[in-house]
Amino acid sequence: MISLVATACVALGLGVVVVRRRSVALALVTTQSLLLAGVALWRTGGHLELMPPAGGLLLRSIAIATILGIGIARTRETKPVRAGIEPMARAVIALAVLLAIPALVPALGFGDPNAQRGAIALGVLGIVVALTRRATILQILGIVIAENGATLAALSASSAVPDVIELGVIFDLLLIAVVASAFHTRIFGEFGSGDSAHLRELHD
């Protein structure tokens, strides 16, 4: 099952690399996060003591979707923010990196090799999204995808990762999402667009 979920999560992450609309990208990432939360809840087997991290993941997914959804609704772009790299080129870059992962990454002790590849792939896709997309909301989604990579890795590890770490990561990501959303709103207020290309004044 974790293998299927890993494949689905990577496919959804690839979708974020190519889609144009922020709302579609948010829907894809939210689906990815909910999938992972669903796996976490399923793995608790109804045991209450295992619920906090799984419930935290579910709440995180809903909270981030809400925070960023409100951010998108409040900052309507007059035209879509174009990325510096065309969708096809972004897809090629992402696919090339994904295909290189099995050759570059050694066996890390994951029971399921697909889960390992999926976790690393999500980390890489998150970086690709954050660095190749110009819309600030999409850059925030890049962070969420990368964090979902760590979550997928943790879920494939048969409850090895302690609750303190899982809950701490969830809390930190929520905090970052709130702060990043505030930045997005301020950037939109200053430039009339959530396009990070406006932020290119600082250089030497």
Binding site: V105, I127, A146, A154, A160, I165, I187
Partner: protein, 496 residues
Amino acid sequence: MTDVLITWLAAGSIATPLVSALGLQAARSENTAHRLNRVFATVTALVGLVAAGAMLTGSSHPSTWMITDSASAIYVSVVTVVALMSALLSPAYLSGAEGRFFASDRGVRSYYLAFYGFWAALIAIPVVANLGVGLLVVEATTAASSVLVAFSGKPRALEAGWKYLILTTLGMSIAFLGVVVMFVASGAHNGGIAQLDWSVLRATLAQMPHGAAVAAYALVMLGLATKIGWAPVHNWLPDAHSEAPAPVSALLSSALLPAVMLLAWRLRDAASHAIGNTAATTPLAAFGIFSVAVAVPFLWQPMAWKRLLAYHSLEHMGIITVGIAIAGPLALAGVVLHFAGHALSKALGFYAAIPLYQIQPDASRHSARDVASSSPATFAAMAVTAITLAGLPPSPLFFSELFIILGGIATGHVLLAGTLAVLIALAFIGLLHALLEALQSAPGQDRQATPSVSRHHTVPILAPTLLIAAALLALTASAWLLPASEIVRRLAQGTT
């Protein structure tokens, strides 16, 4: 003093700034907030310094949640001193600044909320006994400090804050992936959070397959590198340090970078047994020397004062990292001295920017000129900073750099030490060039200089300059005692 009491003091030094952050929200006016800030800062600093003193005299046995060894003591004391000075100078910055990132009626209180939250996290990083929790705290510093970087709400500050937020958070995501790999690959599924305790991490890594241990180490170290700002993942550093409010720039440079570096140091010590000392140390040496090399060309360019200091952060973090990589007693004495001397002098340099921008508003974008005639006190602060950072005797950094280079030669790292010596010499000339530029007048240049500004209307910088200059001289005087000191002996035994 008992270990339990030391642990409670360490916990208190984290809790006090958090309480202060909340207490300051009760202030009904800006003036009240500034007055409360002075009280809270003093109390917080007292608790921090008492805790640091207790750690130095204690037995340094790690408890469940806290590690209170010599390294923690040194970091807590320096972070506390810099945070206190930044807190006391914050009203001077805030009185002449507009904070458009927050709603105008909450600007000052929001600044203090983020500031004291940042202070608490900075104290927590060196004393938290667990790698995983330490990384969580590091990520929390990003949330607090990024809004401080963007406090002015100006486009350049927004750019700097945004870049800092995105890049360092991505880095920490990579680090967390490394932490998960540690749990998965160590196979000890019932070990819980304690598997990542600094005192246990060595055994955890030893249980892992070699390839997995190397991969986990590389992922966490890469994540930490983005936060420390080691080249080539330093892209955010010059922007954030130059655009943040001056008291926050001081905290970023003098406290945050070295505190996160302590995590990298402890991780190296924990991993050197499992993956081999060469594999564990080479990345540190490479990051360190590359950071100094990348910084040097920028130190030669005419540049805005704070931006110049930011590139010096890159250089000096590189020097400290090379010292940690070398790891002999002499080099570690250099690391301790360099950390303290850099923190004090760099903080003073950023504080000097507060009156400097009052005298020359365009000095935020261009190199400062003719400061000596328009504000001798500001120039004195800049001169103390420049002389110290350049490593010109009697700067403590002269001795620390000497210790690190000689320590490298003594331990057989001749090429590394030689390369570092050449790069330091090049940086030295660059900084003196900047200082001379600040002395010169520029008759042909269109300036918004206001040399007639009364010294009564500028931020008092003379007192901090004299205090920090005295502290730097005291550091220099104590330099010769350090290599044979108990502190260095404990550090040489390892930080985990």
